[in-house]
């Protein structure tokens, strides 16, 4: 039942529990309990809204930044990743394979603000870190092309 619930609410987190119960053919109470349990277990971490900020008048720039780091003994990449993640500008930090180690997704009001963040906050921390900013709207855009049933 969990997988079925997650498959539906991953695409539509606003669905009524009663409607969800109908779709999956389970009693409403069971579905509600299962969702609550998954929230408590941290399987469901939150309910977000996917926004295309480009269509608003609010100025925002998103960027993906590749970061190469020297892992610290006994801590792998976690320590640095966590330090980066604590900045409020940062949406997410991914550990990636390939030429770089971390992929940092961040957001600022302007391109300038983003580049300042990169040079001031990230760059000077550690001489062994290298940054390769991919600061373009184009890279960011596919996020909004949400995968639908027709793809």
């Amino acid at each position: 039942m969990r997988e079925q619930i997650l498959n539906v609410i991953e695409k539509n987190s606003r669905i009524d529990i009663s409607e969800l119960a109908v779709l999956l053919g389970y009693p409403e109470i069971d579905v509600a309990n299962e969702i609550k349990a998954m929230e408590e277990e941290g399987i469901i971490c939150g309910y977000h809204t996917l926004i295309d900020w480009d269509k608003t008048s609010i100025e925002k720039v998103s960027a993906l930044i590749e970061v190469k780091v020297t892992p610290q003994r006994g801590q792998g990449f976690d320590n640095i990743a966590e330090r980066i993640y604590k900045y409020p500008e940062v949406n997410a930090v991914y550990l990636i394979s390939g030429g770089f180690d971390l992929l940092v997704s961040l957001e600022g009001k302007t391109l300038k603000e983003v580049s300042l963040f990169v040079s001031d906050k990230l760059h000077l921390r550690d001489r062994h870190q290298y940054f390769h900013p991919l600061c373009t709207q184009e890279i960011q855009r596919p996020r909004y092309h949400y995968r639908s049933e027709k793809s």
Binding site: Q4, V8, V22, L23, L24, E149, K150
Partner: protein, 391 residues
């Protein structure tokens, strides 16, 4: 000038499904519940194989029977899914959709005056194809109280000494009915006893929501008297690729291949390459689409239940078949008014045989959002009719 026309063909009625769609196209804001094809696109990896085959220049005829590799994969698939095994070299023909298999199969089997038993409501082609093949269609009227399954007694009552073939269209379009193993065992017993051949149209086999689909060909004594029709259209959302297959005893398949050879030559080559990918690596796609259909099916049944509309629970295909007899109109009147007053097109049950009178075929090959709007309109319409009747 004298235009030569076959009297048999002129007498055939055109398919009754189209009428409403033509109106929908012209009416603003009208929505449809009518289509008989998946709303999904063909999964990308399948399309990609089709494209790749074109890039490699695979643009010539295949053998008449179809690519051997495809036949081998189908053979493995049927064994794996339905526990029935066919020799890919002698017992299988790749056709242009399941519908070619029906046509060619009947033409290969029938002599003038032979009777073909056709349970209705069912897909619109069995009757005309039987007539074109020189056979005589004998209709078995299925009943709502049996959930539109074919019963042993109904079959026995229809058999005469001219009966040659029984068409078995399950999971069923338009009712959504299925035949479970116990139902099929009873039918198989009669077929063996009375020496009747079966043409089992299992095009919706993958879209079964209760247990696993059972093919009548897998029952003892039945493989040698069954032509199994299946294809890629419904399971893999590949209607436009026009690809199906027929399996059966080599005596019949070889005659079918002869007709196919003269009329068709071979099924589309690009589609055949895409189909190899579909049948090898498409199980997950089927499962995803089936889950989505199943959710919609439950949604519709719940909606009917809430508006007090009588409907048996169908376990197959992507249709529900609610009863509208309580409103004292024919299916056609109901569908016409529903379209005019609420701008929703659904196909009257009578398009699939006279015994579909009093029913409506509603397809759920549509997104949930689309179905929600349609059900709001249906609920409103049903309320209105009940008020008119002073209830």
């Amino acid at each position: 000038m004298r235009i030569p026309l076959s009297e048999e063909v002129v007498k055939l009625k055109p398919s009754g499904i189209r009428k409403f769609f033509d109106i929908v196209h012209e009416m603003k804001d009208a929505i449809s519940l009518g289509v008989g094809e998946p709303d999904f696109d063909t999964p990308w990896h399948i399309r990609d194989e089709g494209i790749y085959s074109l890039e490699k220049g695979k643009t010539i005829y295949t053998s008449n029977s179809g690519l051997l590799q495809l036949r081998q994969e189908i053979s493995k698939y049927l064994e794996r899914k339905y526990n029935v095994s066919y020799d890919p070299t002698t017992e299988m023909l790749i056709t242009v959709g399941g519908s070619e298999g029906i046509d060619v199969g009947l033409r290969a089997m029938l002599n003038p005056g032979d009777e073909v038993l056709i349970p209705q409501p069912s897909y619109v082609s069995y009757e005309p194809c039987t007539i074109i093949a020189g056979g005589k269609p004998v209709i078995i009227e299925l009943k709502a109280e049996n959930e539109f399954r074919l019963t042993e007694q109904e079959l026995r009552d229809a058999i005469t000494d001219k009966t040659r073939v029984l068409i078995l269209p399950f999971p069923n379009n338009p009712t959504g009915a299925i035949m479970e193993e116990s139902d099929l065992v009873a039918i198989a017993k009669v077929c063996v006893e009375k020496d009747i051949f079966v043409m089992s149209d299992e095009i919706y086999a993958e879209l079964t929501y209760k247990g696993k689909h059972v093919s009548i060909a897998s029952l003892p004594g039945m493989k040698e008297r069954t032509i199994l029709i299946n294809g890629f259209s419904k399971a893999y959302a590949m209607t436009g690729w026009r690809l199906g297959y027929a399996c059966g005893p080599k005596e019949v398949i070889s005659q079918m291949t002869k007709i196919h050879q003269f009329c068709i030559m071979c099924a589309p080559t690009t589609s055949q390459y895409a189909a190899i990918e579909a049948i090898k690596n498409g199980d997950d796609d089927i499962a995803k689409m089936r889950d989505a259909y199943n959710q919609r099916r439950r949604f519709l049944l719940d909606a009917f239940n809430k508006m007090g509309l009588d409907c048996f629970e169908p376990y197959g295909a992507f249709y529900v078949f609610p009863c509208v007899k309580e409103f004292g109109m024919t299916s056609d009147e109901f569908a016409t008014r529903f379209l005019e007053e609420e701008k929703v097109a659904a196909v009257p049950g009578t398009a699939f045989g006279d015994c579909g009178e009093g029913f409506l075929r509603i397809s759920y090959a549509y997104s949930l959002d689309h179905l929600k709007i349609a059900m709001e309109r249906l609920a409103r319409f049903v309320e209105k009719l009940r008020k008119e009747q002073g209830r």
